[in-house]
């Protein structure tokens, strides 16, 4: 029998009171309990970045984070990045640059890029590449993805 732990998680600003077994990951809880399925399950071992979310503003892998450890932390998923009906600037740039193909990796990429731009509003192309180091994309070859995000920094 597993312990069942009552936790309150702050997801995109809203409190969610949940009862979870300690071995359940944030990814499991987001997709199965909260039904926020924008966060993707890729490799389940931290290698692909599809499940990236922000915890207190920095990118972490939800597949490797246990939900029981996260009360009191601000969790941001792809569902929480848009401003009302407006796409987030990173999302708009990705669309404008034609950077999205199958889209499976995009939630993770958008969150990694958002965290980068909040810390460093005018990143170089190299900064963008480093920030996306953990986000694997098997369609795009990355070029347009990196161009789209770097275009937001206003550097030539």
């Amino acid at each position: 029998m597993s312990d069942k732990v009552s936790v309150s998680l702050t997801i995109n600003g809203a409190e969610h009171a949940l009862t979870v077994a300690p071995e359940r990951t944030l990814l499991d809880v987001l997709r199965e309990d909260v039904r926020a399925t924008g966060t993707r399950r890729g490799c389940d071992e931290g290698s692909c970045g599809a499940c990236t979310v922000l915890v207190d503003g920095v990118p972490v892998l939800s597949c490797l984070s246990l939900a029981v450890t996260l009360p009191g932390r601000a969790i941001t998923t792809i569902e929480g990045v848009r401003n009302g009906a407006e796409l987030h600037p990173v999302q708009r740039a990705l669309v404008l640059h034609g950077a999205v193909q199958c889209g499976f990796c995009m939630p993770g990429i958008v969150l990694s890029a958002k965290a980068l731009l909040e810390r460093n509003p005018s990143p170089t192309v190299e900064d963008v590449r480093q920030a996306l180091g953990g986000n694997v994309c098997r369609c795009s070859g990355y070029t347009r993805v990196v161009e789209a995000i770097a275009s937001l920094g206003g550097r030539p």
Binding site: S2, D3, V5, A21, P22, E23, T25, D44, E45, G46, G49, T52, V58, P59, V60, L61, C63, L64, S65, L66, V68, T69, S112, Q130, A131, G133, G134
Partner: protein
Amino acid sequence: MRYAEPETVEAALSALSTHEDARCLAGGASLVAMMNAGRIGPGMLVSLHRIPELSTITETGDGLWLGAMCTHRTVAADARLRGAMAAVREAAAWLAHPAIRNMATLGGSVGLADPHTEIPVALVAASARVEVAGPGSRRVVPVESLFVDSYRTSLQRGELVTRVFLPRGEDGAVGHHLRFSRVAADYPTVSISLVLAMDGDRCRQVRVVVGSCGPVPLHVDAADQRLVGTRLEAEDVAEAGGLLARAAAPIDDVRGSAEYRRMLIPRLLGRALSQARERAHV
């Protein structure tokens, strides 16, 4: 599975002692990956994230104590890790990718003892010492005494790592970490960490450690001695590299064959020494 979130080291030790199959949970980067893969199913997790002592960094005259729960991101950003201690800062700055560095911890790297990783390598090069807390007592041991085999440490059941001490090293010493990997975010194929002190153009002291080339970080006294007193010329580096390559016990895997890894050692050693040397002169 049972779960505990103690707020002191003492409470963590007593939680660990209540269950035969209890494991510490730090950042979870490796532990949760192994649970997801069904490779382990601990009976109890004792999360260390609410213990303030374990995230503390303390500077002393001789060096820096880093709490076991310091993330790689925190270590990479600490500008006090200069001189010999920079080897550890550099290893933390470039390992894996940002999300892993945001989660994974120094203590987790020690507890995991994964021979493909590089924090253990840098810690051995920097002559780190580790404080281990067990039921009723704490002790400080040289970091290399903890790494006994692939994924095996000399920690006893119920013990945990509380903090790691990095000595400042002698005057003028510089630490450097060089990773060679297929792409930046991958585990290193081979890594080299070293601490070097020069007297003019002669090597006064050096400590070289090689990673991903055996079950534990590889340190060969004779290789260091082969370099001390020399001008680090090609022949000196080749011979010291040869000693390391012969002592290495690498494996074949997707990142490279054992033979390839052995060939890399002397070449990476030369590169790491010349990069460190440039820094020793600034």
